[in-house]
């Protein structure tokens, strides 16, 4: 997704945050900018087929793998170096780590980040663990990149994610890999 195409959606956060103070608005705007350039939409906003090919479905902005899209068993890729597969929505992935789904980052209280605190979000990033203290966050999430982000920027990202429209969408749990991993070479 190009920055030009994503900017209107980042600004949507601003519109929704009209009650915020100027400082908060600036923080949300900065967070939206970071979310856009960091490529969060690439996996967390499902793709749909448009007239020019796959495009982000912004009615589901940052809501992760669509609950209604039940994935069949992942294809068996047994011939290295082919090693992983993704859904057309770019929200479901299968590889040596198992099957993983992009998370719902919207502020929906039950299925997204709506019940999270800023501290819990920071902890999730610093620990690189699901919910801040569970299993490791799975590929292809580039959590190692996010761990390099400074605290002020992480807080801005969280503020932005809390400002966007909530989408109720329960993302499936990940699945364990096949017992025999695909050889790397």
């Amino acid at each position: 997704m190009t920055l030009l195409r994503a900017l209107p959606y980042a600004l949507l956060g601003l519109t929704l945050a009209q009650a915020a103070t100027p400082a908060q608005t600036k923080q949300i705007q900065h967070g939206g900018y970071l979310v856009t350039i960091a490529g969060c939409h690439d996996c967390h906003t499902p793709l749909k087929m448009g007239p020019k090919g796959p495009e982000p479905d912004m009615t589901r902005m940052l809501s992760g793998h669509p609950e209604g899209l039940k994935m069949p068993p992942a294809p068996k890729l047994t011939e290295a170096p082919w090693g992983w597969a993704g859904s057309l929505t770019m929200t479901a992935f299968s590889g040596p780590w198992g099957v993983s789904y992009a998370a719902n980052l919207t502020p929906d209280k039950e299925t997204g980040l709506g019940s999270w605190t800023e501290a819990q979000f920071l902890r999730m990033v610093r620990s690189a663990r699901h919910l801040g203290q569970g299993r490791a966050i799975l590929p292809p999430m580039p959590i190692q990149n996010l761990q390099k982000v400074n605290e002020a920027d992480l807080k801005a990202i969280f503020a932005y994610l809390q400002s966007i429209p909530a989408v109720k969408n329960k993302v499936p749990a990940p699945e364990a890999p096949a017992p025999t991993p695909i050889p790397m070479h």
């Binding site: 780590w97 999270w116 902890r123 919910l131 699945e175």
Partner: protein, 326 residues
Amino acid sequence: MRPLLPALLALGALSGAAKAPAPPRLLSQTGLYAAPGVVAARNLAYAPQYPLWTDGAAKARWIHLPAAIDGRDEGGWVFPVGTKAWKEFAFGGRKVETRLLWKTGSATWVFASYAWNEAQTDAVLVPEGGLPDAAEVAPGLRHAIPSRTDCRDCHGQEQVEVLGFTALQLSPDRDPGALHGEPLRPGLITLKDLVARGLLRGARPDLLTRPPRIAGDPATRAALGYLQANCASCHRADRPIPGLDLDLRPAHALRTALAPGSFPVPGQPESRILSPGHPERSVLLHRMGSRDPIAQMPPLGTVRVDQAAVDHLRRWIADVPFAPSH
């Protein structure tokens, strides 16, 4: 100028300054030993009645209390500044690591892990990110010394707890059926000792005559004690995990674990976190019995399934017709 620095550091610690000092580079510099291999007399040995499973490691634990614990909140003792707790892990008769929890200010704790050297004479501070390949615990399985972030995952962020040193864990009403429990040997400190030495104040007056005990038949007592020690440091309502209303502390486990959860047992759409009468539908058992990185519980600190615990929990879930306690 030289003597000023230690003085300032000490002042910082006493005033509860947020900036914690760096842990010493060697275990021998932490105050655990009076002489090589000899634990200092001021450090009190203890053994919790419900130990944490760490792949069958043999453990030894000591605590130094420079003053009394504030025991007014039985579920959350407040330790004096200067408290140090050590836990030593050994596999196959060799010491592998010793962890240190050190309270340096009113809200400041230092976490450190030390990896033992080949000669077993001392242990060296492990980098903040941990040590992934510290020792073999079973063919092809390696023990990882956790990162300091991982330490805080279990011991807490702001309100740090010494998990094995609580009223329940030191209760003289010790559970004879505790999984992997150690008998109370002479020299191990108990609640009674703490009170007698003036190291616990503010506790309820009948603490020693009516000490903490998990309610239930022997199988339930052992099962809930195991969940308390191995699961409830994370799964507790007073430190909620977003979107997960699971509290595995003894008084709450049977009520909150009946929910479906978000991670069903594969092939069991009717599964619940804990499904009475149906071990095969119980997510808790499935995840305890897995060491797949996605499914395993606990998610860190272990690479081997605790089969004795899985077997006990399976029998308990199958046989005990329990009802929600609330």
